[in-house]
Amino acid sequence: MAILLTSQSRVIVQGMTGNQGRFHTGQMVAYGTQVVGGVSPGKAGQSVDGVPVFDTVRSAVAETKADASIVFVPAPFAKDAAFEAMENGIKLLVMIPEHIPVEDAIAIVTRAKDLGVVVIGPNTFGLISPGEKTKMGIMPNHIYKPGPVGVVARSGTLSYEIAFSLTNAGLGQTTVVGMGGDPVVGQTFVSVLEEFKRDPKTRVIVMVGEIGGSAEEEAAQHIKDLGKPVVAYLAGRAAPPGKRMGHAGAIIERGRGTLESKEKALTAAGATVVTMPWQVAQAVAGVLQ
């Protein structure tokens, strides 16, 4: 099993004929994702890696019964693409682009809530369910393997680092979810933890957090009643206040979002908090025993 994305998910790619869309369609198909269609206005009738391209999500969904979409269009057009997906029945929406205006992100996640759509991102690497042989995202294919660890991260490359170290330690993953690095994203640690709670295959959860916001503190409230062990690693110990650390979201503002408050809350909630990424796998192995 896995969360959110399974082998049953029927995926379309919005912006399929662009460079990124084309490349990652190939990668997803290669990984085993059921990519059933693509959308690029005015390109209907073309195909990418054997997958048919449609002018609209509407026609793609009508033809392919897709229920999930991954969006690769440039940020200024991302809101349009997201609504096109949601208004046409897509229930799992992965928003890859970064630099989407916060106002647009708010509009997207608000509408998603009303329509019961799960939004991953924006500014995410996506999500991958190795045991289901499926992914929606831009993560490398070779660093994951099936297993009992659920991973939820804000940041891409750092999560690759940790997922790969888990894989190398023989600790496979149910699903690895990238929440996205923007200030406003579809998921919270809490919402993803709840998904992992319901997944019988997930036996331990790894949280990869960072400075900024208070998502980790809120997650701590829920970890107490989760019934599954949590290992947490948070990046940004060395980050000075008031400076954006790459991610629009990673900023310590007016004393909020510091690592200390986050780690304290998580430790108090019973999570195993490690201070360096290379300590995660060992901690996971420890709690699994």
Partner: protein
């Protein structure tokens, strides 16, 4: 993207929010003329740093002559690392009361948050929680006049100020919404002659939304070096250590700094070379690190989208052109790892596969650490 005070105030005024009489001043003569026209005024340095007043960035002039003299001193001064290029001369207000009001984005609620307080004039973090009225905006609904009345009522306002405040909340939210602001703040929101005036204002625009605001000038903050790296399109923050750092991905870059501190070293910077950067920007970024003249350069790459051979190519390109005159520690794993490592080895650069080992070595080479 922070806006200068005078720009923020111009936008408030354009939306019908009363501001004090004021003029932009580029030279001492204009300061003279400004005070001549609007009377005794504060001369405020237009720089994007907090605590301007305490640092000598705000002076009061009673006469035109005084204003001219003060402007002469202030223009060109260095205020916390920023050169003062422009002043804003603003008429003195007889403030009867100071309130606070702001609209900002709450990332956890995923919604705009409006805050108001009768305790204006100080930073909102210093105001007791029970003195602040907080209301989230439902993005489906936005801010209609009743929302402003509810806040005015919650603050206990009455009469003219009740109406003006309720009205101002709608305008402030309209600015937040139409200008893609992440913060629009009036502090203090002054009561002068029984009416509200925006005595000071802050406006930060969402960087990601600048593309749809050609009317708003892009103001680059930060040091010259930071500006230069931002122009390449990379995320960069100057720190005060001496180990220059490059990594791919913001989280990885943060973790790399953490790792250096973990081993007792001091990072000189944060540099995210991007999740899938190609040869050229990576080489440019590395060039920036070289120009910083650090003790050591540490490159930490987990090749996902980024290909290790591209990173190796970038390193070799810099080595062969501008040269790398300080010790270089490279950690390189992931996509096309073998080829990247071989290319570096051929040029005498050893690559680590473990982040921990590499970070420790970088700290050691910098002569720091435990």
């Amino acid at each position: 993207m922070k806006q200068y005070e005078y720009l923020a105030k111009q936008i408030l005024a354009a939306y019908g929010i009363p501001i004090p009489a004021g003029r932009v001043v580029d030279n001492p003569l204009q300061a003279y003329q400004a005070v001549e026209a609007i009377g005794p005024a504060a001369l405020k340095a237009q720089v994007l740093v907090g605590g301007r007043g305490k640092a000598g960035g705000i002076k009061f002039a009673t006469t035109p002559e005084e204003a001219q003299k003060l402007a002469q001193d202030m223009l060109g001064m260095n205020l916390k690392g920023y050169i003062v290029e422009r002043l804003y001369a603003e008429g003195k207000l007889n403030i009867e009361q100071e309130l606070y009001v702001s609209v900002t984005t709450d990332r956890n609620a995923k919604a705009p948050l409006v805050m108001a307080s009768l305790a204006g004039g100080m930073e909102i973090e210093d105001v007791a929680d029970e003195q602040i009225v907080r209301r989230y905006v439902d993005p489906r609904v936005g801010v209609m006049p009743y929302f402003g009345r509810e806040m005015a009522s919650a603050l206990g306002l009455t009469g003219t100020i009740f109406k003006e405040f309720a009205d101002l909340i709608v305008k402030l939210y309209t600015i937040y919404h139409e200008k893609d602001a992440e913060l629009v703040e009036i502090n203090p929101l002054a009561v002068v002659n029984g009416h509200l005036v925006a005595a000071d204002a802050r406006l930060n625009i969402d960087d990601s939304a600048m593309f749809r605001h050609p009317e708003i000038e892009a103001i680059e903050e930060g040091s010259e070096l930071e500006k230069k790296v931002h122009e390449i399109g990379l995320a960069y923050v100057e720190l005060d250590g001496d180990i220059a750092v490059m990594a791919n991905g913001a989280g990885m870059a943060m973790a790399t700094l953490d790792a250096i501190e973990f081993f007792g070293g001091k990072p000189a910077n944060f540099l995210d070379a991007g999740g899938g950067a190609s040869v050229e920007p990576t080489a440019q970024a590395l060039g920036v690190l070289v120009s910083m003249e650090p003790k050591v350069i540490f490159v930490n790459i987990f090749g996902g989208i980024t290909r290790c051979d591209d990173v190796a190519r970038a390193i070799l390109q810099v080595k062969e052109t501008i040269g790398i005159p300080v010790p270089l520690v490279v950690r390189l794993v992931g996509t096309n790892e073998a080829e990247g490592v071989r290319m570096l080895a051929d040029s005498g650069i050893a690559a680590y596969s473990e982040m921990a080992e590499a970070a420790e070595e970088a700290v050691k080479l910098a002569g720091e650490g435990r």
